[in-house]
């Protein structure tokens, strides 16, 4: 069985941000049809669906391009921190959170239409984030990572995407049972304190995390040697994620769209009756089940992310690597858990961590330590199975 993966754990390559950058034959030949296809879809969405969705497609393309071109891997950043005490990726993530919070929190305050990514602190969140942290290390991709690596053509992530959608759907189906274990109302710092104190507290907390990371790694941060891809990757992602909030009035998310796709398929196949389910019988979700996914915000940005990563793909040829049957099985089970747990956790690295923290949701701050605890186990399981 063949597979391919992004370059394996290699601190020197990661530090240098070494991506294959030489001119490759066929890059233009592959990009022109993609550009035309995206333009055609943009025009068709503009004409036949809605101008907002057309704009959000471009936002998704920008996010996918940023993720893939900068190789802005949330999972890899955490793994390098744990295994190599290499903090560059985590510093990039902290910068993304800080810049996006500085853009999002004023927006939430001045535009009442915009909403924060508010998930309820709950047992569901604790368990979901922990399991997600394990699974994302095994699959080498969180929600956005799975998307952009699937867009790049990494076989395991391409295969994981469908099971991720099924897992996300199943998680949403069972969500109310998990919430029954115990949950409190969501807490939003912008609503609670106002945007200035909320932003100040968020930036202070991020700075504390940076100090803790620096202590753990045992070396001071050096801007001069920090790979620039983390800098511009963070800025690009913050810009497009803020545009997502500005255009759609809701923060960037990934997982909801996946669950919706599987829910539509299951409903059409007669395998699922949404009217009998607490989550999908909610009027908002029921409406989205009824209408085309092209009208759904996260679905359209997910499609854009795939296209944005595909744009980068010709310059990022994937190393062919053999995966055993066991590795495939472990990867697919972890992919299912990735989807399931991200619904329990009220988001993945994007929906809970990036969007949660940047919009002042306490659930984002609970998500991070739980997912990190899961990561500590996940990296060991990853080594155990040779992934």
């Amino acid at each position: 069985m063949t597979s391919a993966a992004l370059p394996p754990l290699d601190p020197s390559a990661a530090s240098a941000g070494a991506a294959p950058t030489g001119k490759r034959p066929g890059v233009t030949a592959q990009r022109v049809p993609l550009a035309l296809a995206v333009l055609a879809l943009f025009g068709w969405l503009l004409w036949s669906v809605s101008a907002r969705q057309a704009l959000l497609l471009l936002v998704g393309v920008g996010l996918g391009w940023g993720l893939a071109a900068a190789r802005f891997g949330f999972t890899t950043g955490w793994r390098h921190l744990v295994e190599l005490r290499e903090p560059d990726g985590v510093y990039g993530q902290l910068l993304l959170l800080a810049v996006l919070a500085a853009l999002s929190m004023p927006m939430l305050a001045f535009f009442p239409e915009t909403t924060a990514a508010l998930g309820p602190p709950s047992f569901s969140l604790l368990i979901g984030a922990f399991v997600f942290g394990i699974a994302m290390q095994i699959t080498d991709g969180c929600g956005s990572g799975t998307l952009y690596k699937a867009g790049l053509g990494v076989p395991l992530n391409m295969a994981i995407l469908p099971v991720f959608t099924v897992g996300s759907f199943m998680g949403s189906v069972h969500l109310n049972n998990w919430l029954a274990l115990g949950a409190t109302e969501p807490v939003g710092l912008v609503t609670l304190w106002g945007w200035v104190p909320a932003l100040a507290a968020t930036l202070a907390a991020l700075a504390l995390v940076a100090v803790a990371v620096r202590r753990w790694c045992g070396r001071p941060f050096s801007f001069a040697t920090w790979p620039r891809r983390w800098l511009w990757g963070a800025l690009v992602l913050a810009l497009f994620a803020a545009l997502n909030l500005f255009i759609a009035a809701q923060p960037w998310g990934v997982v909801y769209g996946f669950g919706l796709w599987a829910a539509k398929a299951a409903t059409a196949a007669g395998l699922f009756d949404p009217a009998q389910n607490a989550f999908w019988s909610d009027p908002g979700h029921a409406e989205r089940l009824h209408q085309t996914l092209l009208l759904d915000v996260t679905s359209i940005t997910n499609i854009g992310i795939l296209a944005g990563a595909l744009w980068v793909a010709p310059k990022r040829p994937q190393e062919a690597r053999q995966l055993t049957g066991t590795q495939w099985a472990v990867g697919l089970v972890a992919g299912f858990l990735l989807g399931y747990s991200s619904r329990l956790a009220f988001g993945c690295n994007v929906g809970a961590m990036v969007s949660g923290i940047s919009t002042g949701s306490i659930h984002g701050w609970i998500w991070v330590p739980m997912a990190f605890a899961g990561t500590l186990i996940g990296v060991r399981l990853r080594r155990r199975f040779g992934l």
Binding site: T2, R52, L55, T114, A248, G253, V254, W261, L295, L310
Partner: protein, 55 residues
């Protein structure tokens, strides 16, 4: 190289087929109910799905 292109073609073919199937099976888009192009400042409350939603 060829296998990578083939994988991508299969993946995108499946995705496009799913979107086309969904579009054909869903309620027609009512352009009269089109959401505002930019929601912020539009005065209209949002009601999109997000993964942080408990229900």
């Amino acid at each position: 190289m060829r296998s990578t292109l083939l994988r991508r073609a299969i993946f995108w073919g499946a995705l496009v087929a799913f979107i086309a199937w969904d579009y054909g099976h869903s309620a027609p888009v009512n352009l009269r109910l089109e959401p505002p192009m930019i929601a912020a400042g539009s005065g209209q409350a949002t009601h999109g799905g997000h993964c942080s939603m408990p229900k």
